[in-house]
Symmetry: C2
Subunit: 347 residues, 2 copies
Amino acid sequence: MIPTKSYAALSKHTQLEPYSFERRDLRADDVHVHIRYCGVCHSDLHQARDEWGGSMYPMVPGHEIVGEVVAVGSSVTRFAPGDWVGVGVMVDSCCNCESCNRDLEQYCDDGMTGTYNGLERDGKTLAQGGYSSDIVVKDRFVVSISRSLNMAAVAPLLCAGITTYSPLRFAGVTAGMKVGVVGLGGLGHMGVKFAASFGAEVTVISTSPSKEADAKRLGASRFLLSTDKEAVKNHARYFDVILDTVSADHNYTGYLDMLTVEGKLLIVGLPSKTPEISPFSLIAKRRIIIGSMIGGMKETQEMLDYCAEHQIVSDVEVISIQYINDAYQRMLRSDVKYRFVIDLATL
Amino acid sequence: MIPTKSYAALSKHTQLEPYSFERRDLRADDVHVHIRYCGVCHSDLHQARDEWGGSMYPMVPGHEIVGEVVAVGSSVTRFAPGDWVGVGVMVDSCCNCESCNRDLEQYCDDGMTGTYNGLERDGKTLAQGGYSSDIVVKDRFVVSISRSLNMAAVAPLLCAGITTYSPLRFAGVTAGMKVGVVGLGGLGHMGVKFAASFGAEVTVISTSPSKEADAKRLGASRFLLSTDKEAVKNHARYFDVILDTVSADHNYTGYLDMLTVEGKLLIVGLPSKTPEISPFSLIAKRRIIIGSMIGGMKETQEMLDYCAEHQIVSDVEVISIQYINDAYQRMLRSDVKYRFVIDLATL
C-alpha cells in the first residue's frame, strides 16, 4: 500500500484538514502518479459541504490533477516513470458498454466512477481525489501532458478545460461562427480561449461590466452586458452557439432568443433551481439545446494535445494546501482569476 | 376580385358564422385554388377565441387546405387548372433571407406570413384561411397532391403531417431506432405513422390507457402509460428520439430521462405554462432538445410525395361547415379521431 498525505473534509460541518490514508498497490493496468498540482473546482466545495446531498466522508476533494508518473503496472505501455500526466473527473467506468466503446466513458451506462466522493467499482473502497500526495489510477483514465506547458496551469484543463472544449467541438464550432459565452469564471474563461482559438467571433455575456477588459484579454472580441435590455434585444437571433457555463439559478429562454435558426445552446452548468424554457423560442427557429458533461478520455487527450500545440492553459492562482479553506471563502465571492491551483509540494 | 364564401369568427366571443369577402385578382405568380377540404387544427380554435392574444377579426380560420386549381398567373409554370394542390400554415415569406434561401421559409428572418390571423406582406390586407370556398396564393407556397390519395384525408398533412415529418427527418430517424411519440392526437397519430413508415420501433407514450389499441392500429408496436411509474422507470435511457406533440402544460424532464446518450427530444407542442427541464438530465447523457415548426415548402412537397408513395394519410372525420362550432366543442374534449376535415362543398 502507498502511504498518502492529503487534506480532507471529515464532515460537512468541518473545514478541510490534514489527513493520511493509503492508496492501493498497483494492479497490472495501474499508474502511480505523484501529484504536483491540483485545481480547485467549485464542485469540490459543493461536495465537501454536502450541498448536493449524499456526500461520503472522509472526503479528499480534487479532480484537476497533474503530476509525474512514479511507477506503472505490468501491462501498462503508454506511460513510464517521469512522464507528466493528468487525471480528471473520473477514474473508472465499466469499459464495456456502448458509450465506453465510443470513448464516451463519462456517459457510461453503469455510471462513471468519480475521482472522489463515491465508491470505486469494488463497491466498497472510497475514491479519494487530488488534494493529496499520490494517486493510483487505471491507465485508461490517465492522460499525457506536454512538458512545453506550465504544469500548474494545465491542472484546470482536466475539468474546466474539457468541460468547455467537448461541447464546443460537439456543436461544430469553426472559424467565423458567432459564439457567446455566458459567465466568465473557471469554465467560461476556458470556453473563451477555446472558441477564440477555433477562429470563432467570441462574445462574453455577463452581468458584471467589470469583466469586459478581461474578456477581451482572454480572446473575446465583444462583450454583452446581460442586464442591458437594449443591447440584449439587439442580439436577437445573433449567435450560432451559446455556451452557458453558469450554475447560479437562471432561465434559458433569454439565451435561446439570442440564437439564430438552428442555433445551439450548450449547457454545462448545473443551476439548482430547475430552469424554464419557452417552447415558442425553441420552435420558432428550430433552436437546439445540448447538455454536456466533461469529455471522454480520448477527447481529453486530444484537448491536451491541442493545448500544447496552441499553448493554451488556464489562468491560475497557485496556492499552498494550507490556504484551501481561505480559497473556498474567496471562491464563494467569485474572487479568483480564474482557478485556484494547489501546489502539493506544500503538503 | 374573386367573391368568396366562408365561415368566420367576427369576434372572440362569437361562434363561427357565414361570411362573404373577396380574394385578390391573380398576380403573375399567383394560383387560384377552389378549396374542397380544410382540416381543423386545434390552433384554429385558440386563435378564433383569441386565447394566444392579438387575434384579428373578422377571422376565417383554416390552414390545412386542399383543392383544385382554377387558374394561374402568367408566370406560373408548376401548376395548371384542374391540378390537386394544397396550402398549409404559411402563404408568404420574404423569399430572400438565408432561411428562405435554404427552403426554410417557416423560419424566415422577417417572419413568415401565416395563412390567417395576420396581415399579408402589404402590411394591410388581412390574410384569410381555408374555411372558405376559394384562396389565392403565391405559387411558392402551393404544393402538388397526388390523385392516388383520398383528398379529404390529405388535408391534415399540410399542418399535422409536416409538423411531425420535418422534426423526425431532422433528427435522422431511420430503421431500427427507438422512437417515442408523446400524445396521440392530430399531431401524434401522424408522428406514429411516419416514424413507423421509416422503420423505427414506435412506442406511444400517453396518459390514456384507452389509446393503446389505436396506437397499435396506427403503427406503434409498443405502448407506455406515462402514469405507470414502474413502466416509466423501466424506460430510463430507452429511446433514441421522443417526439413530444403535447400542448397541455407539462415538464420535459421526465421525457429527457427516457432518452439514451445523445437522445433527442423533439418539441412541436406549445404548452402555455413554461416547461421546466433538469439541467442534470440534459448533461448526464449529452441529451438534446430540438424545437420544430411545420416545415419548408420544399420539404412539405417531399412529404406529400412520400405519402403518395407509401399511401399515408390522416385519419379523419369529414364534417359539414355548419357543424364547425360543434366540432370545436368536441375537439376541446379530445373527442376526435384524429382530425376533423370540413367538406367545403357544404358551404
